[in-house]
């Protein structure tokens, strides 16, 4: 497929994207866009970013062949891109480092961020500590209750965690609140968004900072295979940052790409977060994209066992890639992801994040439809330490195969 260059100068991916924000912050988006484009042309900045990824976060992350898992499962060989080995335990840090370096370059001294389960909040607090920035993290009251450990971590890192009591008191509302803060503090504050969402230039910028995942994968797979490309690439999709980062260099190749959304208790129920499968066009957090909403346009509360996929929207580029048919988006249930997580544990000794387990679950299904000499690369976006409590509750609650 020959793709138009996206986003266009208005931040559009076909119909999607754009900047649906109060006028107050329009200038900041322009300022950000300019600073970002400049930085991306600056070799020192690019080198600094690469260096920080290497010496601080431990990149490159390895590409691990999951041989016992592949064997047990049957079918194609599954490779894991080990974003779980990053500092703070997920791909989120790539983007956080990139944006923090940009904030420093722009002379901003304060950052704000939103967080759901706390993963991006921890990443933001981490880079704030690292680069000497003050940091405020918006987090829903309900999430603060559920994720006390991450809240404590953010505080240890010196961040202020602001309890959000508006709306459903979860990620979507924390994001609203972060935007509200930004509208008020925009002159000296950098808003560090945690996924490939939000108004232009955020989706583009986040992709840029996350594409290291795909670039490394391509190199590593190529050296391992003697120059080949994988036969499929799979990543989970919440806001879509790990997926877009992984897909980035593969989009223009002929490699089948799969984004995996959270089907929660099933896409036929009202407990899921399958934005592309079940959503419709709308505006959320500054961007026109697909989202879960009522007919009237009230945004609905999504559900997934994995907090990181529990988002009613999706990055606009995914909405675009979905519409163009370049990426297939599939949905995987809580139970399927739990099963995949356990299978991966037992066969490879890797406890992955519940988010990532959605990608693993789908790749297991996909692998079964493919020959043994075929290969799938899965983005293992994060580690599962953060999910052990949830898993224990599940085990106690005795979830059974439905």
């Amino acid at each position: 497929m020959s793709a138009a260059i996206v986003p266009d100068h208005r931040g559009r991916y076909g119909d999607f994207g754009g900047k649906y924000v109060p006028e107050t912050i329009m200038f900041a988006l322009e300022e950000l866009e300019k600073a970002f484009e400049e930085a991306m042309k600056n070799n020192d900045f690019k080198k600094l970013f690469q260096k920080e990824l290497a010496v601080y976060s431990g990149r490159p992350t390895p590409l691990t062949l999951a041989d016992r898992l592949s064997e047990t499962n049957g079918g194609a060989k599954i490779y894991l891109k080990r974003e779980d080995l990053n500092h703070t335990g997920a791909h989120k840090i790539n983007n956080a480092i990139g944006q923090a370096l940009l904030a420093v370059r722009m002379g901003k001294k304060k950052i704000i961020a939103e967080t759901g389960a706390g993963q991006h909040g921890v990443a933001a607090a981490t880079v704030a500590a690292k680069y000497g920035l003050s940091c405020k993290v918006y987090m829903g009251k309900e999430d603060i209750r559920r994720q006390a450990l991450n809240v404590f971590r953010m505080k240890l890192l010196g961040a202020e965690v602001v309890e959000v009591t508006s709306g459903s008191q979860t990620l979507k509302d924390a994001t609203n609140e972060a935007i509200r803060d930004w509208v008020a503090s925009v002159e000296d504050t950098f808003y560090l968004i945690g996924s490939a969402v939000g108004p232009h230039p955020y989706p583009k910028m986040v992709k840029n900072f996350q594409q290291v995942i795909g670039l490394e994968t391509m190199d590593q797979f190529s050296s391992e295979s003697g120059g080949d490309l994988p036969d499929a690439v799979v990543a989970c999709v919440g806001g879509g940052s790990n997926a877009i980062g992984m897909f980035a260099p593969f989009i223009e190749k002929e490699v089948p790409l799969y984004g995996v959304e959270a089907a929660g208790k099933g896409v036929e129920t009202d407990k899921h977060a399958a934005t592309l499968s079940k959503g419709s066009n709308g505006v959320i957090h500054g961007s026109l994209t697909k989202l879960l909403q009522t007919d009237e346009g009230q945004i609905t509360e999504p559900y997934s066992i994995s907090a990181g996929l529990d988002y009613p929207g999706i990055g606009p580029e995914h909405a675009y890639l979905h519409e163009k048919g370049r990426v297939k988006y599939e949905a995987v249930t809580d139970q399927e992801s739990l099963d995949a997580l356990k299978l991966l544990c037992l066969n490879e000794g890797i406890l992955c994040a519940l988010e990532s387990a959605h990608a693993v679950a789908y790749s297991l299904k996909l692998a079964k439809t493919m020959d043994k000499d075929k290969t799938i690369v899965v983005c293992l976006s994060g580690r599962g330490d953060k999910d052990v409590h949830t898993l224990m509750e599940q085990a106690e609650g005795g979830i059974t195969h439905e």
């Binding site: 208005r10 754009g18 900047k19 649906y20 924000v21 109060p22 006028e23 107050t24 912050i25 329009m26 200038f27 900041a28 322009e30 508006s166 709306g167 979507k172 509302d173 609203n176 935007i179 509200r180 509208v183 008020a184 503090s185 925009v186 002159e187 066009n281 709308g282 505006v283 959320i284 957090h285 500054g286 026109l288 909403q293 007919d295 009237e296 346009g297 009230q298 945004i299 609905t300």
Partner: protein, 268 residues
């Protein structure tokens, strides 16, 4: 421009434009409150539409939205509410204040025709900046609806000039950064900003965001043509929620009294 806007423009008053949330605390109350506001001297009315994710609003208006949502108020019903206001004799321009997603789901074209049918005069979409509003602006123009432009102290000068020149109905000048809500202080440089707006605008220039008392309002008298009061009014409505349902007549009287007490004397 319709007659209501012409009257609005030609008024010699220091224009008072209140904001209330449709359906807060119920549709009937909204009607009475709107009429009361006109009686208090309102030059136009902003009618908010309840939304799940009102990211330009502060806590007071967020809570009003939740009350409105409980009443199952929505964009279509809000528009239709305007025709009831007209039936009751409301003469001032009514502006629908809605987030863009609600508009998108209703459909921009359908909005325009509903607005025309029901006597709506304008629309304000806080999360639809100039850059994204080309289509809506054209449609509004074609149907004599004002798409109210907002400008902020952070708006680049050239953009401010352009928006001021093209503004319809009135130019909404955001008096302080941040979301809607009551403020104690306003920023330096606000006067320069308002001056630049007035120099370029062909329509009245109003200030809004955070005004809550007579003193603050008077502060902008020399530099603007009017003012918008939202949270301070909505807060009063919140405080009187029960009475507005159980003993509406008495409550509306008290409400009027409250509104009058905050207005500059000559606006009555």
């Amino acid at each position: 421009m319709n007659k209501r806007w012409t009257d609005f423009k030609n008024s010699a008053d220091y224009r008072f434009v209140p904001y209330i949330m449709a359906g807060d605390p119920c549709e009937d109350a909204t009607i009475e409150l709107s009429l009361a506001l006109e009686e208090c001297g309102a030059a136009a009315l902003e009618l908010g539409v309840p939304y799940s994710d009102p990211l330009a609003d502060g806590p007071v208006i967020q809570r009003a939205g939740i009350r409105g949502l409980k009443q199952k108020m929505n964009l279509e019903k809000t528009i239709k509410l305007v025709s009831k206001l007209r039936e009751r004799g409301l003469k001032i321009p009514v502006i629908i204040f809605t987030y863009y997603n609600l508009l998108l789901q209703l459909g921009e074209n359908r909005f325009i025709s509903l607005a025309e049918e029901n006597g709506v005069d304008g629309i304000l979409v806080p999360d639809l900046p100039f850059e994204e509003s080309t289509y809506l602006k054209e449609m509004c123009s074609a149907h004599h609806l004002a798409l109210i432009s907002l400008v902020a102290p952070t708006t680049h000068k050239e953009k401010l000039h352009k928006l001021a020149k093209e503004a319809e109905g009135f130019l909404y000048c955001i008096s302080s950064l941040g979301v809607t809500g009551i403020r104690n202080e306003f920023r330096d440089g606000l006067n320069d900003f308002l001056k630049a707006a007035k120099e370029n605008a062909a329509v009245p220039v109003l200030v809004g965001f955070g005004l809550s008392n007579r003193e603050q309002i008077l502060q902008f008298e020399g530099t603007s043509d009017g003012f918008i009061v939202g949270s301070a009014i909505v807060k009063k409505i919140e405080a009187m929620e029960k009475e507005l349902i159980s003993d509406r007549e008495e409550a509306v009287k008290e409400f009027k009294h409250f509104v009058e007490s905050m207005l500059p004397v000559y606006s009555r």
